[in-house]
Symmetry: C2
């Protein structure tokens, strides 16, 4: 995510792009075994034709490899519903530095024999070995998917809407994403995507996935009514049609693309208690002033409490940040109880 | 589970029973931090008073410790809905053999910094260190819980009912347990629990947990109608009232207790592809003949494909199994693509 995959000095870049074969897929269990260089979107298409979905999805899906997703422990847009790769990855094949092939490619749903060595490689970013094959559990394709897109007056209301949402949508809530007004402005300016709701300081995308379309629409409707009448949300639109669902998702998924048209981007992927997250964006804007064209915040409220959003200062030109500012940023991040994380970028790596 | 926690020769038994304090509970996030000796049932009561539930539940809950649950990577009755401890355990404090205290007691929902060392201790059964504290994510208490108890004509129908059930109940399916006729007979004989349905070769318990009682009852009703009309199930009863739900669960949860009244029990906790599981019970009955009073099979169909049921040959008296029979058992188990697992028993350990 911060260009870790871009060679600068004497790094060795290893591509697994030619290792792009599906090894097996069990249409009863949904267990997919494939080589590490398979592109996430292609795997998604492959399992969707068989009425399953991949347990992870992310903006870079068109180019990122499943091996990189696992090596970086990518969270992504389905984390809220299907959990982390630590639960859905059933097995790995890994090549160690001395050439040893570690075969942990079990496809047992529950395998309690011995230590779970594969866990060490999930998120190890290639430092312990190269992942060459992955066994992963795919959930059945949900029968009904609904998306609501909402305008929200403040970040406190974003958080309250999330709490209300969890209570009223419960088991069918599959995504909860927010973006700020600057994100929407940049997506409009560079990609000509129009906001489907009134201009607002914040926007929220809520997705439900369930087994009964009628029940799901009823739950989502009650939630919207409650959110609007209590003033948590000032405007909203709902989609069940596949194309309209895709169009609403594009507003969120294409933020990264819009930013890349806007300037040179410094990217920070951070975990902080959600209550504190947006303060960081405000502090950075004040700190950087005119040095940054834009500082934006967006992302998912992945857990019950801790967010995994993205801060994006866009600068006017690429240059190492002045020492003073880098110090400021580090203090800003370390001041909260969370951690500042620096991740590999898009292509072969998982992007969050 | 096979008496691994019972000292026989020169083992050291370390009890964490006095380390029974809750360290913290966050009522927004549901993150519980507690000492390793906390009894699972007490933790359950503690979080339920705050509208959360523990992500795991098992028959031994009244005596097992959370530290033992983690050390043995206990699956339990909520595995189907809330997944494994590898996802719900957020952090651990562990004391290594040289006295080093390893503090991985984070309570971040997503912490991607460095290697996820705590995973090595989940399921390591004390061989790498002693777990002294646990941080675990508790899901919100579901608003509606329904249980159906069904009679089923054969094991093939049990599996087909499971497939139908997953399709029709989807996201609200929280447990699917089966037991054979001998289990029901022993529960009746020793504990005086009566079957709520007609005598059948197999019985199934289905539990749903959801956010809307009306929607859930409607989904469960449609499923029952379909299962009865297609002959997959021959009789059934449904409960929403808490006491009746408890009574139906008791039939499944108290099998272990009934077996202990029946004789000396050899216990095997195994993972096999579900299609093959019950063959093992039939083969064992034929092989052991009169040497065993009963050979019973029961458990949950935890994944989409692979079961984690329990086989229980009950012998007339305790004695080492004759070499011939132990060989037979090992062959029987190793013949399938699954693994024969031998687990620690109840008290301080997790029972699956």
């Amino acid at each position: 995510m911060v260009g870790g995959s871009v060679p600068v000095f004497d790094e060795i870049i290893l591509s697994t792009a030619l290792m792009n074969q599906v090894i097996s897929f069990d249409e009863v269990s949904g267990i997919l075994v494939c080589q590490a260089g398979c592109v996430l979107e292609k795997l998604s298409q492959f399992v969707q034709e068989r009425n399953f979905i991949m347990p992870l999805d992310l903006g870079a899906k068109g180019s990122c490899h499943i091996g990189g997703n696992v090596a970086t422990n990518a969270g992504g847009l389905r984390f809220l519903r299907y959990g982390s790769l630590r639960g859905t990855v059933l097995g790995l094949e890994v090549v160690l530095a001395d050439g040893t092939i570690l075969n942990c490619l079990t496809s047992l749903r529950k395998d309690n024999t011995g230590y779970d060595l594969k866990q060490l490689f999930i998120g190890s970013e290639g430092t312990l070995g190269i992942i060459t094959a992955v066994s992963i559990l795919c959930p059945p394709q949900p029968k009904a998917v609904n998306v609501a897109f909402l305008g929200c007056p403040g970040f406190a209301e974003v958080l309250q809407t999330f709490t209300t949402c969890k209570g009223m949508l419960g088991e069918i809530l599959s995504a909860f994403e927010f973006m700020d007004a600057e994100c929407m402005q940049l997506v409009g300016q560079h990609l000509h995507l129009a906001s489907p709701v009134q201009d607002s300081p914040f926007y929220i995308l809520v997705e439900t996935s369930g087994s009964n379309a009628g029940h799901d629409a009823e739950k989502l409707g009650s939630f919207l009514e409650q959110a609007l009448s209590s003033g948590l949300v000032t405007d909203g639109t709902m989609a069940t049609d596949h194309r309209k669902v895709q169009a609403l998702w594009a507003l969120r998924e294409r933020i990264t693309e819009a930013l890349s048209h806007d300037g040179y981007v410094y990217k920070y992927d951070i975990s902080l208690p959600v209550e504190r997250f947006y303060d960081l964006v405000i502090d950075l804007r004040a700190r950087l002033g005119l040095q940054a064209k834009h500082v934006v915040g967006y992302g998912h409220l992945a857990g019950y409490h801790v967010s995994n959003p993205h801060t994006r200062p866009v600068s006017r030109g690429w240059q190492p940040a002045p020492e003073r500012d880098r110090g400021g940023l580090q203090r800003g991040a370390a001041g909260g109880p969370g951690a500042l994380r620096v991740c590999l970028d898009g292509r072969a790596a998982g992007q969050r």
